[in-house]
């Protein structure tokens, strides 16, 4: 090896500086100058021995990305939430009903998003918000279900998240949801694919560090759906799961599959106590 190159390498490699850069920043998120968002809080009890504190992905992003989320006029994700607000009052299906006919204003739904995925007694299953929206469309409106992560659906989840911003994520993990939660937990620690990577390898063991150009966060999903600067669109949480598992060189799971419903419940529960942030802005 060239001695001079080695010296330059040594100078350019400032290990301590790189690590400091990669840590989550100290910052506070207040939306539109009024809604305080909890981006750090004590970890839920079920994470004893894993994390003392849970930290929103917002604190792992660059200054300019964080700023975009603080104002609804700067947050591109809000454009999609507004599209869903238009759809909210449009009657569809054989019953001639709109969302508004039963639910009133979107703001009246503030207590919904924080508790999903959630056990549905009648259906005997854990439902994501997407599943509940489609159940509403089919059973109440007599309308066609939306594609699980299609544009209409992602927009609607953005609207329902947006009215819950500032409220703590609070999904139930016990009672009838427990077995689904356990399934999700097992998946979280399963090393999938040819790269043999589990969610935990990156987001539990290495959060705060860089993996190539990506700054690993704790992997919470309180910010979904998320407007990503990388693909300039609103991204549904299970599409993100799909991409993550694919990137372990694995046969991935389908959005809406029982496996991803279970994983979503478990991952959501890791962020219990953080504020709902969706639609958030990430890179």
């Amino acid at each position: 090896m060239n001695g001079l190159a080695w010296m330059f390498g040594a100078v350019s490699l400032v290990g301590a500086g790189a690590v400091a850069l990669a840590d989550p920043v100290e910052d506070t998120l207040v939306l539109n100058g009024e809604t305080e968002i909890v981006t750090r809080t004590a970890a839920p009890e079920h994470l004893d021995g894993v994390f003392d504190e849970v930290i929103s992905g917002w604190l792992y992003r660059e200054d300019e990305t964080r700023v975009m989320q603080a104002d609804d006029f700067d947050n591109p994700g809000m454009i999609f939430a507004e599209l869903a607000r238009d759809a909210w009052s449009v009657a569809e299906g054989s019953e001639g009903k709109s969302c508004a006919d039963c639910h009133g204003e979107p703001e009246d739904m503030a207590e919904v998003r924080p508790h999903y995925p959630k056990w549905n007694e009648e259906a005997g299953e854990v439902r994501t918000l997407e599943m509940q929206i489609n159940a509403c469309r089919e059973d109440q409106m007599g309308a066609e279900p939306w594609k699980y992560n299609g544009g209409d659906m992602v927009n609607m989840t953005a609207l329902l998240s947006s009215v819950s911003r500032g409220l703590p994520v609070s999904v139930a993990i016990d009672g009838p949801a427990q077995s689904t939660w356990e399934q999700g937990k097992e998946m979280y620690y399963t090393r999938y694919g040819q790269l043999e990577l589990a969610c935990a390898n990156c987001h539990e063991d290495n959060n705060g560090r860089m993996i190539r150009a990506d700054h690993l966060s704790q992997g919470h999903i309180n910010g979904f759906p998320t407007y990503r600067l990388k693909n300039t669109k609103l991204n549904a949480v299970q599409d993100r799961f799909k991409g993550c598992v694919r990137d372990t060189r694995a046969e991935t799971f389908a959005p809406g599959s029982p496996e991803f419903v279970a994983l979503e419940l478990y991952v959501a529960s890791r962020g219990n106590g953080l504020s709902v942030e969706g639609p958030s802005v990430r890179n």
Partner: protein, 157 residues
Amino acid sequence: MRIPGIAALAAGLMAFAAGAETVAPTDVSYTDGAVETPLTDAGGDASNGRVIVGDKSQGNCIACHVVSDLADVPFQGEIGPPLDGAGERWSEAELRGIVANAKMMFEGSMMPSFYKVDGFIRPGNAYTGKAADETFGPILSAGQIEDVVAYLVTLKD
């Protein structure tokens, strides 16, 4: 090429590829995580190994490791230890074993196994998200592993 005592067995299992004899992924012999026998008798090319280490579509080692010698390659990761000085800390056989399957030396290591073809959960067809098919093979070929090893042994403090 150094042939150990089990040469007769190993030679019987070796496949021919591009004129060079190679050890199949399932036939690699690990001793305390190290692999004495080169995976191909073609010899390693350190300059190509340097390319593989930094190339996102090949080894992509720098996704997780800093390599000061590759300072021109941006966004070096912090997951594993820096590879600077790896050629002094480890023998060639140890480096070969770590690159081929680090879990043989470091149980539970996060490092992917670059020369392994079995024991996976839901193995995929590269990065397509689809299931693996009959084209499934190790992440790096025997020759690529040897090139990487040849490069790593040059990394001296």
